[in-house]
C-alpha cells in the first residue's frame, strides 16, 4: 500500500466549494478516477482520505494537502496525478503527488497573500503600518468555550506589504495546524477596528503550508 500526499490547487469558482462539500466532491472525484484507493475495513467501509487543513469558503489556494492510500504498489505517482486530474472539477487540479514524509502534526504555519482594495490606498497603508507597529494586536476569537481575547501579534509574521494603484497587497505567515489556527480574517477585523478607511479583502490565497522551521510541509 502506498501512502500518498497530493498537493492541489483550489482556484477560481472552486473557491465557493465549502470544506464540507469538498469532502463529498473529492469522494466522487476518486470514484470517477477509478484509482485503487484504500477503503477502511470497518462495519461501513468507506474510502480513506483526509485534508490536512480546512480552507475558508471564498479563499483560493495553490497548496492544499490531501492524504490517501493506494492499494496498488506498482502505480506511479505520475499515473495517480494524471488519473485524478482527468476528472477533477474546474478550478481544482493536482500539482504534485508524492509519498507522505512528515506527520500532519508537523504543520506549524501557512502563508497567505491578499489584496486590501481601497479608494484611499495611502490612508490604508498608513493604518496597516500603524497596526503592525503596535506592541499587541488583540482580537476576539470564537472558540468552543466562548469568545476569548488573543494577541495575534507574536505569531504573525508579515513578509511583504506593498501599495498598488488601488490596494495594499500583503503576504504573511499565520499559525496553522493542529495547535493554533489563525485565519487572515482575524487580521482584517483588527485592521477595520483601528481605521476608518474602508477596504475590501480580495484575492485571498493560501500559498504555502510550512513546518516550524519554515520548510515546506511534505
Amino acid at each position: 500500500m502506498q501512502r500518498v500526499r497530493a498537493i492541489f490547487e483550489k482556484k477560481g469558482r472552486a473557491k465557493y466549494i465549502s470544506h464540507l462539500d469538498l469532502n463529498r466532491c473529492m469522494l466522487r472525484t476518486f470514484r470517477r478516477s477509478r484509482l485503487p484507493i484504500w477503503y477502511t475495513e470497518g462495519f461501513n467501509p468507506h474510502p480513506y482520505y483526509s485534508f490536512a487543513l480546512a480552507l475558508s469558503l471564498g479563499f483560493e489556494s495553490s497548496c492544499e494537502i490531501l492524504d490517501f492510500n493506494i492499494t496498488d504498489d506498482n502505480m506511479s505517482m505520475e499515473e495517480i496525478r494524471d488519473k485524478l486530474n482527468a476528472v477533477m472539477p474546474e478550478g481544482m487540479s493536482i500539482v504534485s503527488v508524492a509519498e507522505q514524509k512528515l506527520k500532519i502534526t508537523a504543520i506549524a504555519k501557512a502563508e497567505y497573500s491578499f489584496s486590501l482594495v481601497s479608494d484611499d490606498v495611502q490612508g490604508l497603508y498608513d493604518a496597516v503600518q500603524q497596526l503592525l507597529a503596535q506592541p499587541e494586536i488583540n482580537i476576539e476569537k470564537k472558540t468552543k468555550k466562548g469568545i476569548k481575547t488573543v494577541d495575534i501579534k507574536p505569531d504573525m509574521e508579515v513578509l511583504t506589504c506593498e501599495k498598488t494603484d488601488d490596494s495594499v497587497d500583503m503576504r504573511m505567515y499565520l499559525p496553522a495546524g493542529t495547535q493554533t489556527n489563525y485565519n487572515p480574517t482575524l487580521f482584517f477585523e483588527a485592521l477595520s477596528r483601528t481605521t476608518d478607511v474602508a477596504f475590501t479583502p480580495e484575492k485571498i490565497l493560501r500559498t504555502g503550508i510550512l513546518c516550524e522551521n519554515n520548510e515546506i510541509f511534505s
Binding site: C25, R28, V87, P89, E90, G91
Partner: protein
Amino acid sequence: MLKDKIEKHLLEVQKPSRYIGGEVGSIIKDKSKVDVRFAFCFPDTYDIGMSHLGMKILYSLTNERENYWCERCFAPGLDFEEIMRANDIPLYALESLDPIKDFDFIGFTMQYELSYTNVLNMLDLAGIPIFAKDRTEELTQIVVAGGPCVCNPEPLADFFDLFILGEGEEVNLELMDLYHEMKQQGAKRIDFLRRAAQIQGIYVPQFYHFSYNEDGTISGVTTTDGAPQTVKKRIIKDMDSVYYPDNFVVPFTEIVHDRVSVEVLRGCIRGCRFCQAGFIYRPFREKSTDTICKETKALCENTGYDEVSLASLSTSDHSDIDPMLTRLIDYTVGERVNLSLPSLRVDNFSEALLNKIKKVRKSGLTFAAEGGTQRLRDVINKNVSEEEIMNTCRIAFEGGYSTVKLYFMMGLPTETDEDIVGIADLAQRIVDLFYSIEDRPKGRGVQVSVSCATFVPKPFTPFQFEPQDTREMIEHKQKLLLDSVKTKKVKVSYHDPNVSMLEVILAKGDRRLCQSIYTAWKKGCKFDSWEEHYKFDKWLEAFAECGIDPSFYANRRFEYDEILPWDHLDYYVTKEFLIRENKTARMSVTTPHCRLKCSACGVSKEIGGPCFAKSKSDI
C-alpha cells in the same frame, strides 16, 4: 461582466456554489457556434431543482445537438434575490452566466401548483415581461412550460407563450427545429406560434377563447389562428430506444436527491383514483433489464456518485423485477454503491432476493395506505389490504425494524368519521402486532408515524369532479383523529389545510385565475410551498380583489356534463372513462390493474393496440 458582479456579492449568501456553475458534468459551448439557446428553469431553489430527473434528461438531450445549448436556471434564495435586485443582476443561466432574457427559449417545468408565483418572480428577476401579451413581436424570448401541472395550464395561460403537453424528448427538439428554421427566415413571434400550434403536443393558449355561463361555469371554447380544437399530449413509444443521459451535472452542495437516478418505467398500471400521475403518464412502458443496468453503470462511472435509486411510480410492477434487482444488486455491491429502492412492494419476491434487498435497504418502512378502512381503500382503488400491511410489518419487525411510517389522505370522497377512526385503529393494530411478536427488536418500543395529507382532487383523475373538504370539515377530522389515538407509540402529523386549498384552486382553476396569481405575487407571495413563506391571507386578499370566489374551484362539485377548463386537452384517458371510474368509486367497487384486465381508459386506442400483450393479461 455579469460574473464579476455576481462574485462581488457571492460570499454574502448561503451556499454560494449554487449560483456560480462550474459543476462537473455541466455543459459549456461556444455561443458563437450556437443557433438556439434554451434556459431550462426550475421554479424553486437549486437544491430542489437539481434533483429533478426530467431536467437532467432534457438538458443532456438538447445539448447532444451541437448547435443548441440548454442551460440551467433556478429560483434564487431570498438572500440572493435581494442582492440581485439591489445590484441590477438579472436572472442568469448557470453555464454561460448570461442573462436568460437574451435566450431564445425560457422553459419552465411545472411540478407543483405552489411554484406558480415563483415563475412570475423569476420572469420579473430576468427582466422578461410577465404577461405573454407584453412581450416583443420579434422571434426571441419564447416562454414555455411543461411538466405534470400543464395538464391544466389555464391558471398560467396569460404568462406563457406555449405549453408542451406530455413527454418532451421528441417534441422539444421539433419545437426548437421549427424555431431555428423560422428565425433564419426572419419570422415574427406570432408566425412561429401559429406554426408551433400545429405540432402535436403544443398548446398555444392565446389561440383559445373561453366563454362562460352565468353561474360561472364554462360555456364553450373556440379557437383562432388555425389552432386545433383539442391538443393531444406526446409520448415516447419505446423506452429502450429513448434517449437517456449517461452523465449528470454533479452539484457541489448537497441537494435533495443527491444520487444517480435511473428511470425504470413510465406510467402505472394501478389506477389509484386520486393519483394524477397514475393517469396522465399512461401508457405503462418499461425499460428492459439490460438498458437499466447499462444506464446505471454509465451514470455511476461518469458522475462518481456512490448511490443509485430507481425512479418510477411503482418499481415492483416491472415485469422483470426479480432478475433486474438481482443484477443491479450484484453490480452495486461489487462497486460499493448503495442502491435505494423507493416505491417498492416487497410482497411478491423470492426468499433469496428478499435477503439481498434486506442487505441494501437501510431506510425505514413506509406504507401509503391512504385510507383508514377497507371500504375507503376500495373507493379510491388503492389495492392494499390490511392483511398485506400486517404481513409486511410482521416480516419487518422480525427482521429488526421498529419504526413504520403510514401515509393517509383526509377528505377523500365518501369519507366518514368511521374512516378517520379507522386510521387510528390501523395504527393501533400495528402497535399490538409488534408486541405480539416473540423475536421483536428488544430494548426499544415501536414507533408508528401517521402522516395525513389533505386530499386534493386533480384534473385527469376520476376524482377531478370532486369537491375538496372545507377547512372546517378537515379541522373536525384532524381533531377526531388526534382524539382517537390512545397511545404515544402512534405519532400523528398532518398538513396545513390552507395549503391544500390553494393547491386545489390552482390545480382545477381556469384562466380567470391568472390575475389572482399575479396579484398574489405582487403582494409578496413566492415560495408558497415553503411553510415559512406561505402567506394564505395575501392569497385570500388577491382572490377578493380579483372577484374570485375560491370555493367555486375548491369546494364545488364539477358536474359530469360541465365543460372543464382542461377538457380541450387530450391526455389519452377519456372523460367517459373518468366518469365511469367516478361512478364505480361511489359504489366502493375496485377496478383491476391494467395487467389483469384492460379497463378501456382510452389509451390503447391512441397507441394503436393493447398496452399489454395477451399472454401477460393472464397473469
